[in-house]
């Protein structure tokens, strides 16, 4: 995520800047040191980390520096041109690491500095036509060879010249402005890849356009035309007092300086060109000169009268990150720019009409993904397999969120079943599945993921409880262990309740006699109720196979359980109680089926649900019988425990008596036979 850090002023002494700001900021041969050339007579060398000048040079009175001082990286000297003079009028001197400084003359000719100095009076040819003026220039290193680009303007038309020194070819391109013929280009910046220079221009209409110019022209003789395309729309207000500027930060990021609205103050903003999102912005209330330089990780801006340095950091960009920034861009020190256009709007307005087409495209892409995935899964598993599939799922989830109709369900299921995924590897997956009410997927996740947070478990539980039976019918839920016995449920006869409870206490004596009697009247019904499963087998399967087995920590789960509606809690409690009774049917206290929930899991869940919702559940009439049953059950348990304690103490006493008897035998006569 791109971010601007706290700015700092390079020098408290303000620079003697003219109305046009600084002449330039250039790198020196030391990484932390920069040459600042003001528009009058002075060059200052700053050490940025120390925020202080290391040295300064001035030209004589009457002389004026006409282009920014540069450092000759080969000799370590600083070069400055005063009064335009060298052999002809100089536009700029370029100096980059790895090559000698190159001098660009106002007439478009380019010379190496050494050649010029060796023969100062040599003739400099004219390259550009009479009324053409150089607007901007930049030097790149492409495959260790310098490539120079400069832009000229003539009567509102713009031309780009690319000079390669390796093959000494100069090619000229006419920039076609497209619809916005009349706009004035305020600022240029460019980046280069191996083959293409990407020239970005900020027009007076506030938009940024991109023009791609080949480094090595296919036909250098011919004058060629290049079209510019819209990159970002309405970035700055067209009527900037001091103009606006932009500079490329890295492959995907641009820094734009200028007021976002006509009345607004100047603002430095970082844009992601890939996702067309605003990454961060910083208001510069004291106004700027409309110039921005970027070297290393520092942005140099003349803010008011002071040169400020704003460090810029950019972590690897991702869609999720980009989206995240849009959602909550409240970083301290930056402003949420509501007046910036929503990036989706700049995508164009053709989305709606292409809906059906798009869904078809999405279905195709899902199928394609499925095929590719199958191929990938068929290959041998590498050690990075887990992270790889995690990344794949994250990619899917990001796209699901971006494109609501995209949902590669089969692929996701396939990935989950590789047993390589966990919740933390793909945090958004369950969220998406919850959104889509995909119970099968959730069931699978609950079974496979070892690290599901309690909030997610509880969200699943809520969904399972609230989802309509109709939609459940459609879902293809794994019925692993439930089907085995739910059919047989009705045939089985439970032992009568009081008999079960008689273990360890006498029901006649208990003070719950009245309710017991009330209950025994309806005994037949109760039995019916407790022996038949209160939920459909499919829902039961969801509970049993998924939720009950999920790992949880009580402290974290309880607050979430409180949000579950009371009716649902009751239903779930009834189901758990039913499971408990099923457990009691056999001697081993287990449920039939493959991998059934244990008695402890069932009891823990009952306790948890009651802990979280007792005050609510106790008010619900339907839950009354259930609670009474549970109460009696707990009471009988307590009685059993106390009886067991009594027995244990008696045994201990017996043992003690026995020991004493042994100890007291200080003398005896015994029979010994040796074998």
């Amino acid at each position: 995520m791109a971010a601007l850090e706290e700015e700092f002023t390079l020098s408290s002494v303000h620079l003697g800047t003219g109305p046009d700001g600084l002449l330039g900021v250039e790198q020196s041969d030391k990484t932390d040191q920069f040459l600042v050339t003001d528009s009058s007579r002075t060059v200052i060398l700053y050490k940025v980390s120390d925020q202080k000048p290391l040295g300064s040079w001035s030209v004589k009175q009457g002389q004026v520096i006409t282009c920014p001082a540069v450092c000759n990286f080969q000799t370590g000297e600083y070069i400055v041109v005063h009064d335009n003079k060298l052999s002809a009028e100089v536009y700029r001197i370029h100096s980059v690491q790895g090559t000698e400084p190159l001098v660009l003359f106002k007439e478009g000719a380019v010379r190496g500095l050494e050649v010029l100095l060796a023969e100062p009076q040599q003739k400099i040819e004219t390259v550009i036509s009479d009324e053409e003026v150089i607007k901007w220039t930049k030097l790149f290193m492409v495959y260790r060879h310098p490539v120079l680009i400069y832009i000229t303007e003539k009567h509102g038309a713009y031309f780009a010249y690319v000079q390669t020194f390796h093959s000494c070819v100069l090619s000229k391109y006419t920039l076609l402005l497209g619809q916005e013929e009349k706009s004035v280009i305020q600022s240029f910046t460019a980046s280069v890849t191996r083959k293409v220079i990407s020239l970005m221009s900020l027009s007076s209409d506030g938009c940024i356009y991109e023009t791609l110019i080949p480094v090595h022209p296919s036909d250098p003789e011919k004058s060629q035309k290049v079209l510019r395309s819209l990159l970002l729309k309405d970035i700055v207000s067209g009527s900037a007092r001091n103009g606006a500027a932009l500079t490329v930060l890295d492959r995907d990021h641009l820094a734009v300086l200028g007021p976002p609205l006509p009345a607004a103050k100047d603002c430095l903003s970082i844009w992601n060109t890939k996702f067309q999102t605003l990454q961060t912005s910083k208001e510069l209330p004291q106004g700027t000169s409309g110039q921005v330089w970027y070297y290393g990780e520092n942005l140099f801006i003349l803010h008011g009268k002071f040169l400020v340095v704003i460090p810029y950091k950019c972590e690897v960009s991702s869609l999720a990150g980009a989206l995240g920034k849009l959602k909550h861009s409240q970083d301290p020190g930056t402003h949420a720019m509501s007046h910036f256009v929503n990036w989706e709007a700049s995508q164009g307005s053709g989305v709606g009409s292409q809906n059906s087409e798009q869904s078809k495209r999405i279905k195709d892409s899902e199928k394609h993904i499925e095929v590719e995935l199958r191929k990938f899964l068929a290959t041998k598993r590498t050690p990075e397999f887990h992270t790889t599939i995690g990344d794949v799922v994250i990619g899917f989830v990001a796209r699901c969120k971006a494109e609501p109709s995209f949902y590669p369900r089969n692929s996701l299921m396939q990935l989950i079943q590789t047993h390589g995924l966990s919740y933390s590897l793909c945090p958004g997956l369950m969220e998406v599945a919850l959104e889509k009410t995909d119970v099968q997927m959730l069931q699978l996740c609950l079974q496979q993921f070892p690290d599901i947070p309690e909030s997610a478990t509880c969200a699943c539980l809520k969904l399972f409880l609230s989802i309509g039976d109709d939609s459940l019918k459609e879902a293809d839920v794994s019925m692993d262990s439930v089907s085995d016995y739910s059919d047989a449920v009705h045939d089985e006869k439970m032992e009568q309740q009081p008999k079960i409870l008689q273990n360890g206490f006498n029901p006649e004596e208990n003070n719950c006699n009245n309710c017991d009697q009330a209950l025994s009247e309806k005994h037949q019904d109760t039995r019916e109720e407790t022996t038949s499963c209160p939920v459909t087998p499919k829902r039961a399967a969801l509970f049993r196979n998924a939720v009950l087995h999920a790992a949880y920590s009580e402290a974290f789960l309880l607050p979430h359980l409180k949000d579950v509606p009371a009716q649902h809690i009751t239903l779930f409690l009834q189901y758990l109680y039913f499971l408990y009774l099923k457990c009691n049917e056999n001697a081993t206290m287990t449920l039939p089926g493959i991998h059934p929930p244990t008695l402890n899991q069932i009891m823990d869940w009952i306790c948890l649900l009651l802990d979280a919702n007792f005050t609510v559940v106790v008010m619900i009439p339907e839950a009354k019988r259930l609670l009474l049953n549970l109460y009696k059950f707990v009471k009988s348990q307590i009685c059993i425990c106390s009886e067991l304690n009594k027995i244990e103490v008696s045994f201990r006493e017996l043992q003690k008596l026995n020991q004493e008897k042994n100890n007291r035998e200080l003398y005896s006569i015994e029979v010994l036979e040796l074998f």
Binding site: Y667, S668, I669, E670, V671, L672, E673, L674, F675
Partner: protein
């Protein structure tokens, strides 16, 4: 094969004294152990931890310090203010020297072994350190070090011999040996778990060659100090009670401390990371083999040795130092003295030299129990079933027609402990001896009344080399004697001259007996070998040669207590009866010897087995492990045995209660 009525006696109310000091001697691999009653025992660690020598205790001689000096000389000092040297040959006290002060708290020999440092109390609380020179036949006072304001309870020499560290109450002093002045006084924090205790007693110090002083104190701390600067380097809080003892290995890469909670901690100098040369002291292993205070610890090259109030001597081998898995690799817990008796079946001849806690009169069915300062005489009970065999099955308890009686309680005079005692087989003589005197009494039985008549009171004169074990043949012709050095000598008593010498064997003799009629001498050694030597033929018997050829059963060799008593059956000449603390065995020489594949110990009767199988599996060793710990077992008559047991629980019940430790966070 054999069916006996066994008088199972558990009323021998014997409680060993607590261990106060242990001192390990590296050259001879011997361990000296002193007990609170002043007894000093010498264990031979090379000979299967056999207790080969012992010096009887003395009422006034409570040892506080024990140390070895150059030339295998053993010194002890105690609260009576005397320094004692022991004669390891004659097994007596060589001399006692007054240390010119009050009670001695601590003593240490210099690294060269030629100087002895003693700390004693002067006046009420003042502590002084005195230097003694060890001369070839005595020790000589050299000088006093600076007097200190409080008692000095622990001393440690720097390995170079130039400085000493002395642990006192609330501080540690460092002395310069040359000048005798204290050059450092290191104050120790009294704090204990945030609470200020009244005093912090430095129970032990160890001075390492790099200048580090390790101290253990009553606040439960083990602390490392830099002696040059007097600063605390590191502190380990290891116990909620006192840490009472410390011992460092010779390599100074490991040490052991003992706490009042019965725990022993092992500390080791280990590399901080692998391949790193930087090393630090780390608490590596805790051991809980004691129930009571661990008063003393020692560190041999291969084992940690600890002893304390609970009377056990525990030898815990360091598994990483033990190369072969054998005897030395096993944990040893020695509780009882390796008692042995010297029976004289006929006549009033008594040869009481070795410590024997129990003796018995077969004819009168009497048992004589020996305690530190008194003797007890008991008469065994009887059953109506006595003499009629076949009345009970194996393990049955027979009804008693008469219970055992306590006949006599005989107190000694003087401060010396009883070394040994004996009752004659006829039951009419009792003899006992202390280190310096010998007493003989005649018993007269008049129905149930007993009168005692003192016959003799002789002063014991000593030979140059003491004999440890004696055995007299039943016909009174032969005497076998085993001394402190190897070899058993057989004397002809008729002619009073040496008859022959049994070939020397590496391991000490633990029990000796001469069989009636055949005059075969049976010898048991501490490595669990048993030999039979024919005295008339002056050679080993055929059976002995056979068993040496075939070797003993591996389980027999793995027992860890020595055989302490051998006797013979009057009617069955092929039987040898012997026992150690955990088993009783009858060797039937007529049966085949067991090999390693046969079952050595068969506790169950061979029911439902044909005689053929029974005969095939029967072997010469008939073992019973019912009685344990077995202190004494002998044949009263051909069908009756007496077994004296002393259950450990009974001993523990008589000890002071241990420090309560919380269990399970309650």
């Amino acid at each position: 094969m054999g069916e006996f009525n066994v008088h199972r006696v558990r009323f021998f109310n014997y409680v060993p004294s607590g261990i106060r000091c242990v001192a390990y001697n590296n050259q001879s691999n011997r361990l000296a152990v002193s007990r609170t009653d002043g007894t000093v025992e010498i264990y031979n660690l090379s000979a299967n931890y056999f207790q080969e020598k012992f010096f009887p205790g003395h009422e006034s001689r409570a040892t506080e310090a024990l140390c070895w000096a150059k030339g295998q000389r053993l010194f002890s000092a105690g609260l009576n203010g005397e320094i004692i040297e022991y004669d390891l040959q004659a097994l007596n006290v060589k001399y006692a020297v007054d240390a010119f002060g009050g009670p001695v708290w601590s003593m240490a020999t210099s690294p060269s072994g030629s100087q002895l440092l003693v700390s004693n109390q002067v006046g009420c609380e003042d502590g002084s350190v005195k230097l003694f020179q060890i001369t070839p036949d005595k020790i000589q006072f050299e000088r006093n070090f600076d007097r200190q304001k409080s008692r000095i309870l622990s001393l440690s020499w720097h390995p170079s011999g130039t400085h000493i560290a002395a642990g006192s109450i609330d501080y540690i002093s460092v002395f310069d040996v040359k000048s005798g002045s204290a050059i450092h006084k290191i104050l120790v924090d009294r704090q204990y778990m945030g609470v200020s205790k009244r005093k912090c007693i430095i129970w032990g110090v160890a001075f390492l060659s790099d200048g580090t002083i390790i101290s253990v104190d009553s606040a439960g701390k083990v602390q490392f100090w830099d002696s040059a600067t007097g600063t605390l380097v590191k502190s380990h809080l290891i116990a909620n009670a006192d840490v009472q003892s410390i011992a460092v290995s010779d390599q100074e890469d490991s040490f052991v401390v003992g706490t009042a909670e019965g725990t022993v901690f092992h500390f080791q100098l280990v590399s901080v990371t692998s391949n790193s040369s930087e090393r630090q002291w780390v608490r590596t292993k805790p051991f809980q083999h004691h129930t009571h205070d661990v008063r003393t610890v020692a560190h041999s090259p291969t084992a940690l040795i600890s002893g304390g109030t609970d009377t056990h001597l525990v030898i815990r081998p360091l598994m990483e130092k033990v190369e072969v898995k054998n005897y030395d690799a096993a944990l040893r817990k020695i509780t009882f003295p390796h008692v042995s008796i010297t029976p004289n079946p006929q006549g009033p001849h008594l040869y009481p030299i070795r410590r024997c806690l129990i003796s018995c009169s077969k004819r009168k069915q009497l048992l004589l129990f020996q305690f530190a300062h008194h003797l007890e005489l008991w008469r065994l009970g009887s059953t109506v079933a006595t003499g009629k065999m076949g009345e009970g099955k194996n393990g049955d308890t027979l009804p008693l027609s008469k219970d055992a009686d306590h006949l006599l309680h005989l107190k000694t005079k003087g401060p010396e402990n009883i070394i040994c005692s004996c009752i004659s087989p006829c039951g009419s003589w009792i003899a006992y001896s202390t280190a310096s005197r010998f007493f003989l009494y005649r018993l007269n039985y008049e129905r149930d009344n007993i009168s005692l008549q003192r016959v003799s009171d002789a002063t014991v004169s000593r030979t140059v080399e003491s004999m440890c074990l004696l055995a007299v043949s039943p016909d009174g012709n032969w005497l076998a004697a085993s001394g402190t050095s190897a070899g058993v000598h057989v004397y002809n008593l008729k002619h009073l001259k040496l008859h022959c010498t049994v070939p020397a064997y590496n391991f000490p003799v633990t029990a000796l007996a001469i069989a009636p009629n055949t005059n075969n001498l049976v010898i048991a050694h501490s490595d669990q070998q048993v030999f039979e030597y024919s005295i008339p033929d002056k050679q080993y018997t055929e059976w002995s040669r056979n068993i040496q050829k075939q070797g003993f059963h591996y389980l027999w060799l793995q027992r860890d207590t020595p055989i302490t008593h051998i006797s013979f059956h009057p009617k069955r000449p092929m039987h040898i009866l012997l026992h150690d603390a955990y088993m009783f065995c009858i060797i039937d020489k007529s049966l085949p010897l067991p090999n390693d594949k046969t079952l050595l110990y068969n506790p169950l009767p061979p029911t439902n087995e044909s005689d053929v199988i029974r005969r095939r599996t029967a072997h010469a060793f008939k073992i019973s492990k019912i009685y344990k710990p077995l202190l004494f077992m002998d044949l009263l008559d051909e069908r009756t045995l007496v077994a004296v047991e002393r259950p450990l629980d009974d001993i523990i019940a008589q000890l002071p209660p241990p420090i309560k430790k919380k269990k399970f966070g309650t």
